[in-house]
Structures are given as structure tokens and as C-alpha cells.
């Protein structure tokens, strides 16, 4: 093996360790590539296509940040992480940010020393049952067998929900979503419960999706968002405001189609500030004036990214729901760009 290279690299790395405490923004710029942690595969959110290009809703966040900082939406090294390795990968500096359907919780933010830079998808735990079961509410599920992934928060949420409603259930522990699909279709359980987006994606793959219904109850809050290491606020700001730029762009009507036109200058001062034709927002962030323009151009505004990867036109077919703009009754609410 390349022993010399390895040992040499280790030595140099040891010497350089003291000097490597510079900010992540500078590290990323110096490297010319953004290391972005993603899942090893989740329908609609992150998956490599046949050419090995990563696609998906979370992937789009990585690409937007890379476009804002480096000017190239493809200057991203996607690092697949599992549920077990994701946090150490971020804490150790192996990745600069995680965009990996990770729920923003108190302990992850405070105890694990991470910083969630916003929410890119509001999810919640739901139930799927066969239509033939004739159930219209989760409260009617007394005595049901439930397929549930072990070791996740969904397991605890389920126990809480059934206890507070004073009904009983029988858990069927499963390890992965693939196993769950097979078990559920084979009739090993009456109910399958996981995040509502996952249920919709799973149902879309069934031979007859119409034979299965998602129950109206959502029993938990799962705000999913990108996160960075605690303490590097400049980098956190870059990721946070890149996400906000995507959300604001949708609110302000900036799309990948009309962005060049709007960047030339409009009557709306916020659009001008966002796209850099007015003000010095980019400079404050340590980037150039056109950072947000590039971020939006990379994959479109939030709505376009949503529609392309998980929206109603895709096989996954998720409605905007909670993820609509605040003006449309959803929860997306970007702080103003000024």
C-alpha cells in the first residue's frame, strides 16, 4: 500500500493541525469543494442517479450553498452518511454541513453542539393502513399490529400516542423502510407508521396505491433541516441565509426562469437587495454580491426545488401542506433581507 503517502500525510496533518482552526467558509473556498453530508439514499431527498449524480430535495440545499460560496453548483463532494455516522462526520469536520433529513431537536442542538440553520421540510409522523381495514382515524386502531422502525423517535412517539389515547397496539419491529414495505404488503402488520413524506413515497411504489390510505393524524413534529457545527457562526450564517434566499425567492416571485431579468434591477428593493443589484448583503456575509442569485439559479427557488423532487408532479406526490409559504397558510417564513 501507499505507506509513504499515508504516513507522510499523517505527519503533515499533525503539524498543520494547529493552524487548521480557520473558519469553514475559508476552508471551503480554499478547497474549492463543499463536503456535504447526505443520506445513503432516501426517496426524493437524496439518491444517486444512473450516472452517479446525486439528486433530491436535500441535495438541492447542498448545491445551492456550493453555488453561493464557490459559484459552482457541482462543486460538491457528497458524503453518504448513515443515521449512526452522521453526527460524528459533522463534528469531526469530515463534512462541512449535513443536509440529511435530520430532525431539529433540543438535545441535538444544545447537547450535541450543532446548529440547525433552518427548516427545509416540516414533516410529521403519520399512519398508513389498507383501505379494506375501514379505518378513518388513528384512534380507531385499538389492538392493531404496527410495523415500526426500531431505535427511532417514531417508536417513542407511537408509544406516547397510543398511551395518551388509552388504546393498545402490537409492535412489529423492522429495520429498514424496504423491509417495512415488504412486511406491510405481505400483511404482517395492519399499520405502517413513519414520517408522512416517507409514507407517501412508499405508497407511491405500490401496485395499487389507491388501496391504501394515510390517516389524517400527524402525531409528532419533525422539522427537518440542514445543520452545521456549533461555534462557527460565519459558516452557519452562510448556510442559513442560503436556505432563506431560496424561500424568499419563491415569496418574491423569483424563479430560475426570470432571475436574470430580475437581477438587472426591479422596482422591489428587497428583490434588488437579495439579488445584489442594491446594497451590500453579500459583502456582510463574506461573499460577493451575486451569491443569492447563483444559489437560486442552481436549482430554482424553494417551490421549484420542491416541485422537481417531491412535489405533486413527481411519483412521490407530496402536497405543499405545512411547507407552503406563510402567505399561503404554510409555515415557510424567511426573515427579511435588509
Amino acid at each position: 500500500m501507499k505507506k509513504s503517502v499515508i504516513l507522510g500525510a499523517a505527519t503533515i496533518a499533525g503539524l498543520a493541525a494547529g493552524a487548521a482552526a480557520a473558519g469553514t467558509v475559508d476552508d471551503v473556498k480554499a478547497r474549492g469543494k463543499l463536503n456535504c453530508g447526505v443520506t445513503t439514499g432516501l426517496v426524493g431527498f437524496a439518491a444517486p442517479d444512473a450516472n452517479g449524480e446525486w439528486q433530491g430535495f436535500d441535495v438541492a440545499v447542498c448545491r445551492a450553498v456550493a453555488a453561493a460560496v464557490l459559484g459552482d453548483a457541482n462543486a460538491v463532494e457528497f458524503v453518504p452518511t448513515t443515521g449512526k455516522t452522521r453526527f460524528t462526520a459533522l463534528a469531526s469536520g469530515e463534512v462541512d454541513m449535513l443536509a440529511r433529513n435530520t430532525t431539529w431537536t433540543f438535545s441535538r442542538d444544545v447537547d450535541l453542539k450543532f446548529e440547525f440553520t433552518g427548516v427545509n421540510y416540516y414533516d410529521g409522523q403519520g399512519f398508513m393502513v389498507p383501505k379494506s381495514l375501514g379505518v378513518s382515524s388513528a384512534k380507531e386502531l385499538d389492538g392493531a399490529t404496527v410495523c415500526i422502525q426500531t431505535g427511532t423517535t417514531t417508536e417513542l412517539n407511537l408509544a406516547d400516542f397510543f398511551r395518551s389515547n388509552n388504546i393498545s397496539y402490537e409492535p412489529v419491529p423492522i429495520e429498514t423502510n424496504a423491509e417495512a414495505q415488504q412486511q406491510y404488503l405481505a400483511g404482517a402488520c395492519d399499520v405502517y407508521t413513519t414520517d408522512a413524506s416517507g409514507l407517501a413515497a412508499t405508497r407511491a411504489t405500490f401496485e395499487n396505491p389507491g388501496d391504501h390510505v394515510l390517516l389524517p393524524e400527524i402525531i409528532s413534529k419533525e422539522p427537518l433541516g440542514p445543520l452545521v457545527r456549533h461555534g462557527d457562526h460565519e459558516w452557519g450564517d452562510v448556510v442559513r441565509w442560503t436556505l432563506n434566499a431560496l424561500v424568499s425567492a419563491e415569496e418574491l416571485g423569483i424563479t430560475s426562469a426570470n432571475i436574470d431579468e430580475m437581477a438587472a434591477g426591479t422596482d422591489n428593493p428587497e428583490v434588488n437587495r437579495l439579488l445584489g443589484s442594491e446594497g451590500t448583503l453579500g459583502e456582510m456575509l463574506g461573499l460577493d454580491a451575486e451569491w443569492a442569485k447563483r444559489a437560486v439559479k442552481a436549482g430554482g427557488n424553494y417551490g421549484e426545488v420542491f416541485a422537481k423532487n417531491i412535489g405533486e408532479e413527481t411519483p412521490i406526490g407530496l402536497a405543499r401542506g405545512l411547507n407552503a409559504q406563510w402567505t399561503e397558510g404554510g409555515l415557510l417564513y424567511s426573515p427579511p433581507f435588509r
Partner: protein, 435 residues
């Protein structure tokens, strides 16, 4: 006078055996229907095999090779009037992704490099595996191959592997020089030191200098681009190749009379065998990251390679110790009485016999290591199983299970089965049974 009316004077010609004893009928009578219990069992088995084939074969024979998504597969099957959850396999996913399952994310224009690396691997292994059929001069190539292999896969300047090779040359030169003039032990120690100094200190300058003089090299491919069977085979081959010598050293160390060597070996073997491979992989992927200084780029695949190699070396050591223990005491005494020193005795008398006895155990350790490589999917490397998850996360292919896992299982079977057949060939050739 004799009462005997008739004496045959010549032998009767041999008759054909009865039709019920030879041919297919005879074979079936002997092997399938030799009693009523066996007959019932045979019929039952035939029934079950038929039932399984009846279910599986129509599923496999499914004209969905060109489909672009699971729903397209279903349309094709629907048009054929085949309905239901197990109407037919959706082979489109294999058609679209088989290259990815084999090469991972390796740049397509550079596929020749892993292909060349593994073809040359066969060439390098030939003099070792089929010693009687291949000219032994090829062994020189086998010796050089460990330097060619990483260079082909990872790329970079050609001076890197040359410099690594020169380290051995420097060490050997120092050893011969010193051992001729002074003691042999001093020669070994100084030789190893000289190699280490070369690799750690001089090598990087040498590579830099030569690179600026003559920049010969091929495009660098990062470890993150490795995936699929290429990753499995790389990990498997490196772990197998490194664990055998390491295992021999450990096994000898465990039997050594030198206390420190002995307890170091015992401690290492027992520690590694007492810890599951998954734990070691987690150490490699997460714990090392936290201990190493931030910003260190210690290649993840390299960390995994080291862990898997150490893991299999510990098992290999115990397998070989079994072989050593099976040798009668007289073999050691015979070697001593011939006046051979320790290494000569090991090389000429002990090891050839011990390794021969251990072949089945060694090969089954190899097979185990190769299959264990799929565990790297747990730490986020995209080996075939990791890629299967990733492929199933493609909206087009979500919901496909059996086709992908069946394909992966088939390829693994081919590799492991060939290893097992080779071990049987080797056993026959070497007559390890002492019959």
C-alpha cells in the same frame, strides 16, 4: 470312466448387467428409490423443487429488460396479462444500474483502470495459485504488483509507488551492507530504520523532485468515488493478501519463547477476536475522526482496509496456529537435528506442512472476509448493499427488492464459490489428507 457328463472348458462371456441396475434407471433405483422411506422423501423433494421452480421461473422470465422505471415494468407485465405483486421481475433496474453496481462512482472514462488492475491481479496471482502451470519468472511481477495495484486504482504520480518500492530497496541495501560487515541483527534493525526514514522523511521530497523533473502520472481518483463490487473486491483482495503474512507472523509470535513477542501477539489476537468487526469499523469511521486533529484527511477506505486486515489477520493467526499444533513434535526436533536455524526450519519444514493442513481453514477465512466487506455499508460506504439502498431511493426504482438483492447475491456467490472450488483443487493437488 467318469460320471460327469458335462464340464465347461471355457469361460462364459460377461453378460450385460440387468437393465434395472445400470444407466439412469439403475442410478435412480440406487440413489433415489432404494427403500420406501427414501422413495417418499424423493417424491416429496421433487414436489417441493417443482413448486419453487413453478413460482420462481415465471417470475425470472420477464421481458422487462428495457423498462425505465418500476411503473413501466408493471405496464409491460400488465399488457401481457400478468397481474399481482409477484407477476414478474423488473430487470430494467439491473439493466440501468449494473455498471454502477460494479464500479460505483468511478469515472466512466477511467473504467479501464480497475479492469486492468483486476486482470493484472489474475496475472500476479497465477504463479502463486497455479505454481506448476506458470513460469516462475512471473513471480517478479507478483512482487511488483502491490505497488502497481494502488497506483492503477487511485492514480496520481508514478513516482509515489516507485518511491515506496525504493524504500524496500534502501532497507535491503543497508541490511546486506551491515550484515556483511557487522552482525545480522544490527543489519535487520538498521535496514528497517533506513526504510522508515526513507518513507517518512525523504520520500515526499523525492516524489516532489522527480515530479517536477518528469511529471508522469495518471488522473487521481478519490476514494469517495469507489463503490459497488469494485470496493468490495478491493477491500477483500487487500485484506486477504495482507492478512496471510500478518497471520503467519502472529501465529509464530504466539508460539514464540520470547515473552514480549508472545504476549504482544496473544494480546493482539485475543483483543481483535473479542471485538466484533462492526465495532472496529465504527472506530475506523467515527472514533478515529474524533481523535485525529481536525482537518486531517485520513482516507476512509484506507482506515477500513487497515481495520479489516487486522481483523482477518487475528483469525488467520488462529487458523495457522491450528496447523502448527497439528504437526508432530518430531518435525521440530528433526529440523533442529539437521542444524537448521529458526527461520530455515520454519521456511523449509514447518510452514509448508502447517499451511497445507490449514488450507480449508484459510480459505474459509478468506471467504468470510470477502463477505464481511458488505458491513462497510453501515458506515456509509457505498458497497453493493449500500448502493442497493441508494438505488432503491431513486423514485423510479423505489419498491424493487428481490431483483437487486438477487443480482448482488448471485455475484457474491460466483466469487465465493470459485474461491471454495480453488481450495478444493489445491487440497487435491497437495493431498493434505496424508492418505
Amino acid at each position: 470312466m467318469s460320471d460327469i457328463g458335462y464340464v465347461r472348458t471355457e469361460m462364459l462371456p460377461e453378460k450385460e448387467p440387468p437393465a434395472s441396475e445400470v444407466g439412469i434407471i439403475g442410478w435412480m433405483r440406487h440413489n433415489l428409490f432404494s427403500g420406501w422411506i427414501n422413495s417418499i422423501l424423493t417424491l416429496l423433494s421433487i414436489y417441493f423443487v417443482y413448486k419453487i421452480l413453478e413460482a420462481v421461473v415465471p417470475w425470472i422470465i420477464s421481458p422487462t429488460w428495457d423498462a425505465g422505471s418500476l411503473s413501466e415494468c408493471r405496464e409491460i407485465l400488465h399488457a401481457l396479462g400478468r397481474e399481482g405483486h409477484y407477476a414478474g421481475a423488473c430487470w430494467g433496474v439491473i439493466h440501468e444500474r449494473w455498471i454502477q453496481l460494479i464500479f460505483g462512482f468511478y469515472p466512466p472514462e477511467l473504467y479501464w483502470r480497475p479492469i486492468a488492475a483486476f486482470v493484472l491481479l489474475g496475472v500476479a496471482l497465477a504463479p502463486v495459485l497455479f505454481a506448476d502451470k506458470v513460469p516462475s519468472k512471473l513471480l517478479i511481477f507478483s512482487g511488483l504488483y502491490p505497488f502497481i495495484f494502488p497506483w492503477l486504482l487511485w492514480g496520481g504520480t508514478i513516482w509515489g509507488p516507485i518511491s515506496a518500492l525504493l524504500g524496500f530497496v534502501v532497507g535491503w541495501a543497508v541490511y546486506t551492507l551491515i550484515s556483511k560487515t557487522m552482525s545480522g541483527l544490527l543489519g535487520i534493525i538498521l535496514g528497517v530504520l533506513a526504510s522508515l526514514v526513507w518513507w517518512l522523511v525523504i520520500s515526499s521530497y523525492f516524489v516532489g523532485a522527480m515530479d517536477s523533473v518528469a511529471a508522469i502520472g495518471i488522473e487521481v481518483v478519490e476514494s469517495r468515488k469507489f463503490g459497488g463490487f469494485m470496493l468490495s473486491i478491493t477491500i477483500g483482495v487487500v485484506a486477504i493478501a495482507c492478512s496471510l503474512p500478518l497471520g503467519i507472523v502472529l501465529a509464530l509470535g504466539r508460539q514464540s519463547d520470547l515473552m514480549i513477542v508472545k504476549y504482544l501477539s496473544v494480546g493482539f489476537i485475543e483483543f481483535i477476536r473479542g471485538v466484533p468487526l462492526i465495532t472496529l469499523l465504527f472506530v475506523a469511521s467515527t472514533l478515529l475522526n474524533l481523535f485525529l486533529p481536525p482537518g486531517t484527511n485520513f482516507d476512509i477506505i484506507l482506515r477500513v482496509l487497515i481495520m479489516v486486515t487486522l481483523f482477518s489477520a487475528a483469525y488467520m493467526a488462529e487458523v495457522i496456529r491450528g496447523g502448527l499444533a497439528a504437526l508432530p513434535r518430531g518435525q521440530y526436533e528433526g529440523a533442529d537435528s539437521l542444524g537448521l536455524n529458526y527461520w530455515q526450519a520454519q521456511r523449509l519444514i514447518i510452514m509448508p506442512q502447517a499451511l497445507k493442513i490449514s488450507i480449508p481453514g484459510i480459505v474459509s477465512t478468506f471467504i468470510g472476509v470477502f463477505k464481511d466487506t458488505v458491513l462497510v455499508s453501515i458506515i456509509g460506504l457505498l458497497d453493493p448493499l449500500g448502493l442497493a439502498t441508494a438505488i432503491r431511493a431513486d423514485a423510479n426504482w423505489n419498491g424493487i427488492v428481490w431483483e437487486i438483492y438477487g443480482f448482488i447475491g448471485l455475484l457474491f456467490f460466483i466469487f465465493c464459490f470459485s474461491m471454495s472450488r480453488y481450495s478444493m483443487y489445491l487440497e487435491r493437488k497437495l493431498h493434505t489428507g496424508h492418505r
